[in-house]
Amino acid sequence: MDGIDTLRGKYLESITGAGDESALEEIRLSALGKKGEISLKMRELGKMTPEERQTTGAALNRLKDELDAALRARKVSLADAALDERLRSEWLDVTLPSRPRRFGTIHPVSQVMEELTAIFADMGFSVAEGPQVESDWYNFDALNIPPEHPARQEHDTFFMHRAEGDTRPPHVLRTHTSPVQIRALEANGAPIRVIAPGRVYRMDMDQTHTPMFHQVEGLAIDKDISMANLKWVLEEFCRAFFEVPSVELRFRASHFPFTEPSAEVDIRCSWVNGQLKIGEGDSWMEILGSGMVHPKVLQAAGVDPTQWQGFAFGMGIDRIAMLKYGIPDLRAFFESDLRWLRHYGFAALDMPDLAGGLSR
């Protein structure tokens, strides 16, 4: 038995002392390999008496298991040490910049159009569209603005060129989104609830005007829609759009040829240090024009004004975008300055919806 203890001592010591995996393998072979010392000892068991064989055999087996476990353990600890050594050399400056990624943006006009759509969709309005080159009938006559009416001059209209021999009145770049009222009524009849956002054009260019801008038209026609309903719809819209707990609107009598009665709509607000606050304060700011659709307009669109009535309104999209998001200059909307686009633009996934709130 002494031999076994000697073997055990010798091998355990050399395992502990092994410096790498190949040294360990050598030790394994010389101890447990086919011709290893322990294997040789096993072969000698046959020459022993049954009693001797039992005790020595068991002892040898224990030794074999013990050495095997020691070899494995040493192998793991060597690998750990090697990994630690490698990791010690693998140092990076993690303050270096990340890999580049482009961030796109949505233009405020598009964002606000989606906000409008989300709010009005909830009130049952769909989105109607119409051409931007418009016949003067749709842009003016059908909206009760006859050719020589002074209101027509106030529109600062862009006219399209008319080829010689073409005696039709020249087409215009639509001066407002109101012609979509006519087109939507012609296409769908009454009852109807639509909004129509889009580009409009006026011959005007200065600090606060651009020859192209955006409007949204609203139209609701049914059997008994009143101006009081109009006021409620606009109140609800403004409250939701400006994301304030309450708003106060003031209707002021005015004149638009296509509505009667007509009202300019003011919203209560305050200006503190150049910052606009909607829904509080002592100032009133005009935000849109509205009224009850003129019977002649309904007639022009083929809707019987003795059967149907309703309201229409028109609002500047760029303007409410400026008010809501504190954008100072209208002209910059159309200049595509990257700095502006990135600063005032919206992330691709900032999709306005009523459940999550319109803006972040």
């Binding site: 796109g104 769909s126 060129h161 087409h171 580009r199 691709a348």
Partner: protein, 795 residues
């Protein structure tokens, strides 16, 4: 339209405050644009009485006064020579702001003597330039407010000026009397009666007038002899000055007064300068007029002129002539009151670019029935201010018939406005506005050309009742429950395209729909059909045929600002022609510069056509385009001919992608290269059936196998042809074919060849592939590819 409060009160008997009047005006639809109120800066000053005045101990020119004020006796040092015992003065106390010297007073010590305020001169209160002494009032008690005293005694000195905006439908409000009528209807006082007493003629009218045009249906005229045309009286001058008009002479000032007071434009000819009779007729080509503004106008046929034997003397309803105008030497005057057709007046005024107060009124429509009363009232005033003897009035033509009546449906008013307005209140409103009610029929007054139907009656009632009082009332949903989706498929796609492009890192631009002719021509547009007749600038003359020119210009501007790399996009309309509807919705992306800035990892690389293609495909996929498409090379001229392509379904073009033609970049000042793509959103076919259900997912449990093939082909061979041929070798087994390498060695280049390498993924179903199966399909792939492209397997 401007007027003063005291002017308004010549027509309106009212005790309403300025604030109440201003509020009511705006609320009635006569929006107040501004108010200039001289009293607003005098509100703190009160009357006081000097009890005693004595010489200042240390100053020759100063006096120390004991003054009785509403706060008891005060000591005030004063430098005015008229500061003396017993006079009533205007007191400014410590803390008051004195406008004329721009100082807020404190308690001061003047040469050792305390002074508790000051006694003001007119200049110090900005009432006049008077500064010889302090104000001495002939009446008033200590403690009275100075503004009250002024209002009582010299209201013209603090007469507030009100500036209102008149909408085009309200010509009647272009005279102060019309405004007063609206306020009276609102209940802010009563409209004073306007007595018109005809002035009997003293001799036959020596100037005869003939009407020869329908554009002037009515003309009244008379001569007044022996007038003295000096300056008009102070009250008249003050009124005109208050609204920004320059007083000229009594006769001219009277015509201006009538224009603004009663909306009754008049004209005065110097009768001595009129040769023969007057004829109102259409102008003849070649005729000219030297008008009162000193300019000569070339007239056109159809314009209404008033002529005598010397030729054209006046442009009817717009402006008189210089030659026959009145000046201080005028002794005999011919006074004209006429009615000119609104449309003719508007057309003429616009053609000649004359903006006069007369044109402004005639083109909106004045009260034709007030023509003869107008000339009588004006005669009376001329006689009062200038003296003279009037002739008979000649009235040529007749008052145009404006009689009409509309039914007032009081229930409909309530239903439409959504506000309870009692029927009798509705009727009372119309009556106070001058309507005559006969049963349900409302007869429209002659001064309201805008009232043309029942709806107009409703508007009158609503605005007088005050829309400010309107309370919102919920608009119930048309359909109860969760609202239905409302966007059309095309609208959904527009939104998806936009959001996808932003997600891909592009910045959305909104550029103008009109561009310059040269840019438009470069992109296949710029024809007369899309030309704007009256562009606002030479850079905005033509509707854009494409979104690229606008984006390229934007890129050039950004490059000039020092940004070299950018990804821009726009979703918007392009115009194929100038008819309504010749408009197509495009989504265009533009990549300029490198994929990234320089960085430690070498991320920077030039962007190329395959970046543009990838993004175009991403957008197409987002808006539901089918995966299997054709790519052709039939691109427009603004693309690089060798590095661009069209993605299509047969003849239907879904998108174009590629490098922008270098000549285009050069023309638009873009430092290139630049790649771009344009998606024709509406050309992507809609799904035949719309269902949220997905087709069942088929997954095989068997191992897929990938095999690589390298072919040598002609350099011009397109990869897609090769890929499609390989995929067609066994449609059931081949899951995908992917190009993973393209290469040409020098030797291959010399022979016009290149290598294309593909990897084919085989997905067996039912049984595992054996080597034999794989060999069989491989052979078929090689055969198909060879047949389609002439390719040889690379050895």
């Amino acid at each position: 339209m401007k007027f003063t409060l005291s002017w308004l009160k010549t027509h309106l008997d009212t005790s309403a405050s300025l604030d109440d009047i201003a509020y009511a005006l705006t609320d009635l639809g006569l929006e107040v644009e501004g108010i200039h109120d001289p009293a607003s800066k005098l509100k703190t000053f009160t009357l006081a009485k000097v009890l005693h005045a004595e010489q200042h101990p240390d100053a020759d020119r100063l006096r120390v006064c004991r003054v009785m004020t509403d706060e008891g006796e005060k000591q005030i040092v004063c430098g005015a020579p008229n500061a003396r015992e017993g006079i009533t003065v205007v007191l400014c106390k410590p803390g008051d702001y004195v406008p004329g010297i721009d100082v807020t007073l404190g308690v001061g010590k003047i040469r050792g003597v305390e002074s508790h305020g000051m006694m003001a001169s007119e200049r110090e209160l900005e009432l006049s330039e008077e500064h010889d002494g302090i104000i001495e009032l002939p009446s008033g008690e200590v403690g009275d407010k100075f503004t009250d005293w002024l209002a009582q005694n010299t209201p013209e000195k603090i007469d507030p000026m009100i500036h209102i905006k008149i909408t085009p439908n309200r010509p009647d409000a272009l005279g102060v009397r019309g405004i007063a009528r609206d306020l009276a209807a609102r209940g802010l006082g009563t409209l004073k009666p306007l007595a018109v007493e005809p002035v009997a003629g003293q001799f036959p009218n020596p100037i005869t007038l003939r009407l020869e045009t329908e554009a002037c249906p009515l003309f009244a005229g008379r001569v007044i002899r022996g007038v003295k045309n000096g300056p008009s009286p102070e009250w008249l001058q003050a009124r005109l000055k208050a609204i920004g008009l320059r007083p000229i002479s009594a006769l001219v000032d009277i015509t201006n007064l009538f224009t603004f007071d009663l909306n009754r434009p008049l004209h005065v000819f110097d009768a001595a300068k009129v040769a023969g009779d007057l004829v109102v007729r259409s102008a003849r080509a070649g005729e000219e007029l030297l008008a009162l503004d000193g300019k000569t106008y070339a007239l056109r046929e159809g314009m209404v002129v008033i002529t005598d034997d010397n030729g054209v003397e006046s442009l009817g309803g717009i402006m008189g002539g210089e030659v026959s105008g009145c000046d201080e030497t005028t002794t005999d005057v011919y006074l004209e009151a006429a009615y000119f057709d609104p449309i003719t007046t508007a057309t003429t005024g616009r053609a000649l670019k004359i903006n006069s107060d007369a044109r402004y009124r005639f083109e909106r429509g004045i009260d034709p029935a007030f023509t003869v009363p107008g000339i009588e009232l004006a005669t009376r005033m001329i006689l009062d201010l200038c003296g003279g003897t009037p002739s008979d009035v000649q009235v040529a033509g007749a008052v145009p018939d404006t009689a009409r009546a509309y039914r007032l449906d009081t229930d409909r008013v309530v239903s439409l406005v959504g506000m309870e307005i009692a029927a009798h209140d509705q009727r009372a409103t119309l009556e106070s506005l001058g309507f005559r009610l006969e049963g349900d029929m409302a007869h429209v007054p002659s001064w309201r050309p805008d009232v043309l139907g029942e709806a107009d009656l409703i508007e009158e009632i609503a605005r007088v009742a005050s829309l400010t009082k309107l309370e919102g009332r919920p608009l119930p949903r048309a359909v109860a429950g969760v609202p239905l989706p409302i966007l059309t498929p095309l609208q959904q796609r527009e939104k998806a395209a936009r959001r996808t492009l932003a997600a891909l890192g592009y910045n959305e631009c909104v550029t103008y729909s009109f561009i310059n002719a040269r840019d438009a021509a470069l992109f296949g547009g710029g024809t007369d059909a899309v030309r704007v007749e009256n562009p606002i600038s030479s850079e905005m003359t033509h509707l854009r045929p494409d979104l690229l020119p606008g984006l390229l210009r934007a890129a050039a501007r950004n490059q000039a600002r020092g940004f070299a790399d950018m990804a821009l996009f726009e979703v918007g309309p392009a115009f194929a022609g100038g008819e309504p509807g010749e408009q197509v919705l495009l989504a265009t992306g533009l990549l300029v510069g490198a994929a990234a800035a320089r960085d430690p990892y070498g991320s920077r690389r030039a962007l190329d056509v395959f970046d543009a293609k990838a993004d175009a495909e991403a957008v197409l996929s987002a808006i539901g385009a089918p995966a299997k498409v054709q790519v052709s090379r039939k691109v427009a001229g603004w693309w690089h001919p060798g590095r661009s392509g069209v993605i299509g379904l047969g003849p239907n073009v879904l998108a174009t992608f590629g490098e922008v033609h270098p000549r285009i970049l050069n023309a638009l000042d873009v430092k290139g290269p630049a790649v771009a793509f344009t998606i024709q959103i509406a050309n992507v076919p809609l799904p035949k059936v719309k269902t949220p259900t997905r087709p069942a997912l088929k997954i095989s449990d068997l191992q897929a196998v990938e095999r690589d093939f390298a072919f040598v082909v002609d350099a011009g061979t397109e990869a897609l042809t090769l890929v499609n041929a390989a995929a067609g070798a066994d449609k059931a087994l081949i899951e995908s074919v992917r190009v993973f390498d393209q290469f040409a060695s020098e030797a291959q280049k010399a022979e016009g060849k290149k290598s294309l390498a593909i990897t084919v993924r085989l997905q067996p179903e039912g049984k595992t592939l054996t080597d034999k199966d794989i060999e069989a399909v491989s052979a078929k792939i090689v055969e198909k590819v060879a047949k389609a492209t002439g390719a040889a397997l690379r050895s």
